[in-house]
């Protein structure tokens, strides 16, 4: 058992440098890193040869009774979503670096395999992490479709807790309601509904809804519409746009023709870039106020959106410019390791590490049932502001920021400024009662 420590600490002995350390280039290679990435090809050298080839490095295979914790990233590392995957890893590993590479005083081994943001691969990677790597905790995924597809496997194996560091689809709670599933991120109700009464009070009493036409976009749109009508507003139209569209001209026409004073939008990633830029290109900024879920105007899209984003409102649980000590410290630490400001995904990764740390510390072990009991209702001191895991759904009860895009004198000419913080809006439980 003890000999396993050696190779985990001396990472050059077992592994070649991993992606996230080489890319930013900030991490000093000579510094004993705690993060190792076990590559599949090292294991493939044959069933019999594996143990010999890797020596004591296979500590994690049957779980972690040797004390080493195994963290399995179920994240995309290629294609468009790789930015999100890497940010989550960066956040998680920032915590590790701040704690001598340890979680609750134990050594940590991280394992990653690219989900490609593909549901099918997601299931396979989940299985790999749970069965092959003996992960004590799953971190991820990015895509809600992957999260939904993972539920069955996580439930069947019942061998690790699952810290969902992004995927916000409410159905993971409604239909999964898994004991082991804890969201360190958000759910799609939070990034839409609480904005509705605010828009009604401060912007307009009528809106048109624009959304990427897939489950997540539809959920967000529905939650907003429901809350907006409840607040007394009127939804005058809705425009669904196929996911991954390049040209929004026909839809912008419909949005304009609706005659609404404001628009609530759900788009993310490159869709958000196209939508927001073209919204501005077509001169719609002069005609209506743009509001949306925070992914519409986030750190990963603002550089490309540039001035087109100015003045637009959105709601999210984290804003890097937020003025509180906890956040300022976090931003500083993050920027000393990476060139860029932390984004919401990095915070979700960081908080996953915090939550895992607290739980392992609390139960002094890795039994998933014990960890789940410990995490339930736990309060986490996050850069976003403190949040609590809902005792019944394990979703985060957290503050939500209403932000507006303003000019900035930083490298990116625009940034989000918090206009108002909604204190812990009460979450629906969708019949889940853990």
């Amino acid at each position: 058992m003890v000999e396993n420590y050696k190779c985990v600490i001396d990472y050059d002995l077992c592994m070649t440098p991993k992606r996230s350390t080489t890319k930013g280039g900030q991490r000093d290679a000579s510094q004993p890193s705690t993060t190792t990435s076990r590559r599949r090809f090292l294991l493939s050298s044959g069933v019999a040869g594996t143990a010999a080839a890797l020596g004591g490095c296979l500590g994690g295979i049957t779980g972690s009774d040797d004390g080493t914790l195994t963290v399995g990233y179920v994240l995309p590392f290629s294609g468009t979503y790789s930015l999100l995957g890497e940010s989550i890893v960066n956040g998680f590993e920032l915590f590790l670096d701040q704690n001598d590479g340890q979680i609750a005083g134990r050594e940590v081994e991280t394992v990653q395999s690219d989900t490609e943001a593909d549901t099918d691969r997601g299931v396979s990677v989940t299985r790999q992490m749970l069965v092959d790597e003996g992960a004590d905790v799953l971190v991820g995924p990015v895509s809600s479709a992957v999260a939904i597809a993972m539920m069955q496997t996580v439930e069947n194996e019942a061998s690790a807790i699952w810290l969902n560091a992004n995927a916000g689809d409410y159905r993971v709670v409604k239909e999964g309601c898994l004991k082991y599933h804890f969201r360190t991120s958000f759910n799609d109700w939070q990034t839409s509904a609480p904005l509705a009464p605010w828009v009604y009070d401060n912007v307009a009493d009528n809106v048109v809804l624009a959304y990427a036409d897939y489950a997540f976009g539809q959920n967000s749109k529905n939650f907003f519409a429901e809350a907006f009508e409840e607040a007394g507003g009127e939804v005058v139209g809705e425009v669904g746009v196929p996911l991954g569209s390049d040209d929004y001209s026909p839809y912008l026409g419909e949005i304009e023709d609706s005659g609404a004073d404001a628009v609530f939008s759900f788009f993310a990633g490159s869709d958000a870039v196209n939508y927001v830029s073209q919204f501005s290109d077509f001169g719609l900024d002069d005609k209506m106020t743009q509001t949306g879920s925070g992914f519409l105007l986030s750190e990963d899209t603002l550089p490309a959106q540039g001035e087109a984003a100015l003045g637009k409102y959105s709601i999210l649980h984290y804003t890097p410019t937020k003025q509180n000590d906890r956040n300022q410290e976090f931003v500083e630490n993050y920027m000393s390791e990476h060139d860029s400001r932390p984004n919401v995904y990095a915070v979700q990764g960081y908080d996953s590490a915090q939550a895992f740390n607290a739980a392992v510390d609390d139960v002094d072990g890795t039994d998933p049932d014990d960890l789940a009991d410990s995490l339930s209702g736990m309060e986490i001191d996050s850069p976003r502001g403190s949040f609590q895991f809902h005792p019944e759904t394990n979703d985060p009860i957290q503050d939500m920021d209403i932000r507006q895009v303003v000019e900035s004198d930083g490298e990116v000419p625009v940034e989000n400024e918090v206009v108002e913080t909604l204190e812990r809006p009460e979450l629906p439980t969708w019949g889940c009662s853990l």
Binding site: K18, R19, T22, K23, S37, R38, R39, R40, F41, L43, S44, V47, A48, T50, F77, S78, V111, Q112, S113, D114, D118, T119, D120, R121, V123, S124, V125, R127, Q128, V131, D132, S144, A145, I148, A149, M151, Q152, T153, N156, D169, R171, E175, D213, Y214, A215, L243
Partner: protein
């Protein structure tokens, strides 16, 4: 336009000849299946996760086999096999969640779904040839994809959900098979191995049947086959439908295993990957594409944790296609026939490459 038809002629590169699989070849394949059968329990104890990989390898080998039958033996390059794979998968998902998880009911239905979908696509497509045929099959498969993604069936029938839209159908239970616990992964592995072995045996038999000979004739000289009295179109449609049945079976095996039926299964990238498996393995040999499928799955698995794995995987494709013209099957055959000259052959291949790049072919 030059020889659009001839350019898709697999004969130019196929390794085999009149008899599909020599008796020694059969022995080797049989041996491999027995080996896999013995290997299963060993793997289950030593490295249980690899059992999952093996199941995945077997499923995609079956899919590649189904494509090779219709392309390698009938000259029909399908770029839409994802349609049959996905259709089989979705029908299995719906049956398991709504009706019964009995494998003896669901798997045959998945297969029949594949046959039906392939028959429809084939009926419309076989009049076109070569790349036009490929693009027609692609078009139909993409239409299936869009329909599943937008849950068109539900819209048309006015119900809430059938295909589950972009989330697909999830949480699908594993099969039940009288008295056998298929949630035990070794049993699922054996079931898959058995079905793949039976499929291979059947397709080899079919390739050597009077029907199979006509298909081969069509591949070699479609016009002449018509002028000696065969209904070429009907043979093609039937051949395509049979192939679709096995693609549907592969879908039916895969979906409960992944607990998921997803529109991605119908996407052209699946068909594209399948063609890559075929070319990588060596088409027209039936076993080559299965090898290609195994290589792609295992490569992806191995490279999944590596930075820039796409660059490596893409690079492997490029190197194989330039230096191993007949795919992995070709490499194995030449190694077997001429093991001593392997080094010389490799050297020749490189010299040949340099010469061609310099334009002195």
């Amino acid at each position: 336009m030059r020889e659009i038809v001839a350019m898709f002629d697999p004969r130019r590169t196929s390794v085999g000849d009149s008899q599909i699989l020599t008796s020694r070849g059969r022995l080797a394949v049989f041996g491999l299946i027995v080996l896999l059968g013995v290997l299963g329990p060993v793997v289950a104890i030593v490295e249980p996760y690899w059992l999952y990989i093996l199941v995945q390898v077997l499923v995609f080998a079956l899919l590649a086999l189904s494509l090779d039958f219709v392309f390698g033996y009938a000259g029909l390059l399908s770029f839409g096999h994802a349609a049959m794979f996905g259709a089989g998968g979705y029908s299995a998902a719906l049956l398991i969640t709504e009706v019964t998880p009995n494998a003896l009911v669901v798997l045959p239905v998945a297969m029949l779904t594949g046959v039906a979908v392939a028959a429809v696509i084939g009926w419309f497509s076989v009049r076109s040839r070569g790349i036009y045929f490929a693009m027609l099959t692609l078009a139909f498969a993409q239409m299936f994809y869009v329909a599943a993604f937008a849950d068109l069936p539900a819209t048309l029938l006015g119900v809430e959900s059938i295909t589950g839209g972009d989330n697909g159908i999830y949480g699908i239970a594993l099969y039940e098979l009288i008295g056998i616990d298929l949630s035990d992964r070794i049993n699922y592995y054996f079931l898959t191995l058995l079905l793949v072995a039976l499929s291979l045996a059947f397709l080899v038999r079919l390739a050597n049947s009077p029907f199979g000979r006509v298909l081969q004739g069509i591949r070699e000289n479609e016009e002449r086959v018509a002028f000696i009295g065969y209904d070429v179109r009907r043979y093609k449609v039937v051949g395509f439908a049979i192939s679709g049945g096995f693609a549907g079976l592969a879908g039916g095996l895969y979906v409960p295993f992944q607990s998921l039926a997803h529109p991605q299964f119908l996407h052209w990238t699946v068909s594209g990957e399948l063609v890559v498996m075929l070319l990588l393995g060596g088409m027209g040999t039936l076993w080559g594409p299965m090898l290609g499928a195994a290589s792609v799955i295992i490569l992806e698995e191995m490279l999944g944790g590596i930075a820039a794995w796409e660059v490596i995987l893409g690079g492997i494709f490029v190197v194989v296609v330039i230096f191993a013209p007949r795919g992995l099957a070709g490499v194995l055959i030449s190694l077997k026939e001429d093991p001593r000259n392997a080094l010389t052959n490799a050297k020749n291949a490189i010299e040949n490459y340099v010469r061609k790049v310099r334009g002195k072919s």
